[in-house]
């Protein structure tokens, strides 16, 4: 089996997992969910890391990749933090004092 076929199999299965997991989310959590999935596609950061880390030639390419890595990092870090802030609104009403309070 060629790597392409293996990867396609993974792709298709991942698609079904995505459908199965997500279709059960209550309405209220849609915005946080969108934000959470948004953070997960920050995985593109890995693409930037691999391509830059395994070596490219040319200053221009390197600049592009640094920008790509910066973009990916913003996507990941920003995405998870924003999701957490949204979700902290749904927390039980009596959090341990001092913990999880915003700044």
């Amino acid at each position: 089996m060629s790597p392409l076929v293996q990867n396609l199999a993974v792709l298709v299965l991942a698609g079904f997992v995505g459908f199965a997991v997500i279709s059960k989310v209550p309405n209220t959590l849609h915005t946080p969910l969108m934000s959470g999935t948004n953070a997960i596609h920050g995985i593109v950061l890995l693409g930037g890391l691999v391509v830059l880390g395994l070596g490219v030639d040319g200053v221009f390419n390197k600049i592009l990749l640094v920008i790509a890595i910066a973009f990916g990092t913003i996507n990941v870090v920003g995405g998870f933090l924003v999701t957490d802030r949204m979700l902290s609104m749904f927390k039980a009403k009596k959090p341990a004092p001092g913990e999880e309070e915003e700044k």
């Binding site: 392409l4 830059l52 996507n75």
Partner: protein, 461 residues
């Protein structure tokens, strides 16, 4: 990829899936989000452990820039500005994919010695990533009100221009796959796709923006998955595809809630653009205005009050004051409930987030289907900064651009009080018949100060 790295990837996406499952319930959601974040951390570390990694300085530089930009903006953004923040984070993800594809092209001399499927996957990722980047930036601009929320169209030229741009991008891709290696081809592809992103999103009215952001979110996921195929990276394939699938479902749900079909939204404009102006006869119709004192008295003698919060309340940051008002009413033995339209605010669930922030009990938040049957027994419906979602024209006037959209049947309650800054139309740009209903009285002013005055009056009663 070594087996060790591959195993860490498997751990990572098991955590992604488990984390997403956690996100399906309010109790487990916070933990779910962190589980997914841990998965992301493991995936990043695994990648850095790949044998032969170098260029550490540049990697650290990129990550540092990203962290310096991303962390403060995520921390400081106001709750009301969440939707555009999501749009922005989504956009940079798409941008990253497009840039990586560009570099792939450059460093392989136009995929000269690569199998065709790698070129195809990478170029697909480039097109979608570029559309997503520019489209998301427009969505951000519209929600942040840097760009007019109104549809900006090119009229009849719209569809041909979009089709032409797509053709240009595809033509560039085909030439590259067929062996073209000129740098202009990839730049042409990225530019054409980028302009396509702009021209597709610009004509879409502000009210449809959440659907668009969700769609672009799914797009970015797909482009990440395609990039994963090109780079033979399982983590990218799995995570990207899960987002692609989930984003599609979410987009569909949102579109359904607004009774809009996705093709109709993409085709541009709210009801085709020009129809927006047709708010019915424009003669000055009589409107009854009221005072905070009257509103307070009216509510104090009601037995049931339903609050209909909208984006206006969110913008004015009035949710805490509203909660205070509700507490006072409850002390007087009045039932207070909140009617939440599926797209109240600017995204499904957005209003729930804001009200939860103000400690409104979860049980008092009623979804549309549940509350609509109760309006007939409601004495006072207090509409705070909501407009389009209460417009009865959506049910009665087939010529209205929002005809068919499910609404909160506020007009069935015994009396309606609308808190609003002025008589301007809502996000969809349509006049609201509710305001001219004889049962309706308007309390003009900033939502927060109006509710504040009502609270004072209630205390004085």
């Amino acid at each position: 990829m070594t087996d060790f790295v591959a195993i860490l990837y498997i751990v990572a996406f098991a955590l992604f899936i488990y984390g997403l499952m956690g996100l399906t319930g309010p109790r487990t959601a916070v933990r779910g989000n962190w589980i997914a974040a841990v998965g992301m951390g493991i995936a990043v570390i695994a990648t850095l452990l790949t044998p032969g990694m170098g260029n550490w300085l540049l990697i650290v530089l990129g990550v540092a820039i990203g962290a310096v930009v991303g962390v403060p903006s995520a921390r400081k953004v106001k709750m009301t500005a969440m939707p555009q923040m999501v749009a922005l984070f989504n956009g940079v993800g798409g941008g990253a994919v497009a840039l990586i594809a560009w570099v792939e092209f450059n460093s392989t001399d136009g995929y000269a010695h690569e199998p065709a499927y790698i070129a195809i996957a990478s170029l697909f990722a480039a097109i979608i990533g570029s559309i997503s980047f520019w489209g998301s930036n427009v969505a951000f601009g519209k929600l942040q009100e840097l760009i007019s929320g109104r549809p900006i169209t090119m009229g009849k030229l719209q569809q041909p221009v979009n089709a032409l741009l797509l053709l240009i991008a595809l033509a560039c891709a085909v030439i590259i796959v067929a062996g073209g290696d000129s740098g202009f081809l990839i730049v042409g592809l990225l530019v054409a796709a980028g302009i396509l992103g702009l021209t597709v999103v610009l004509p879409i009215g502000g009210a449809d923006m959440p659907v668009v952001i969700s769609l672009l979110n799914a797009f970015t996921g797909l482009s990440a998955a395609a990039m994963g195929l090109a780079l033979d990276n399982t983590a990218l394939i799995v995570a990207g595809m899960i987002v692609g699938a989930s984003g599609s479902i979410l987009t569909n749900l949102m579109a359904k809630a607004m009774n809009r079909s996705i093709p109709a939204i993409i085709a541009g404009g709210f009801g085709g653009g020009p129809a927006v102006a047709s708010g019915g006869p424009k003669e000055a119709r009589p409107v009854r205005s009221t005072s905070a004192a009257d509103t307070a008295i009216q509510m104090a003698y009601a037995s049931k009050v339903v609050v209909v919060p909208g984006y206006g309340m969110a913008v004015a940051q009035a949710q805490h004051t509203v909660r205070e008002m509700a507490k006072l009413l409850e002390k007087k033995g009045i039932t207070v409930e909140y009617a939440i339209h599926p797209v109240a605010g600017r995204m499904p669930g957005h209003m729930n987030v804001l009200l939860a922030e103000a400690d409104v009990p979860y049980e008092q938040l009623k979804e549309m289907d549940e509350i609509n049957s109760e309006f007939a027994q409601t004495d006072v419906a207090l509409v705070i900064g909501a407009n389009d979602v209460t417009n009865p024209a959506a049910q009665t006037d087939p010529s209205s651009p929002i005809y068919g959209m499910p609404i909160l049947k506020v007009n069935e309650s015994r009396s309606v009080i609308v808190l609003k800054r002025g008589m301007s139309s809502g996000f969809a740009g349509i006049d609201n018949d509710l305001f001219y209903d004889p049962k309706t009285s308007m309390l003009f002013g900033d939502a927060k100060s109006s509710v504040g005055e009502i609270v004072e009056e209630l205390k004085a009663l």
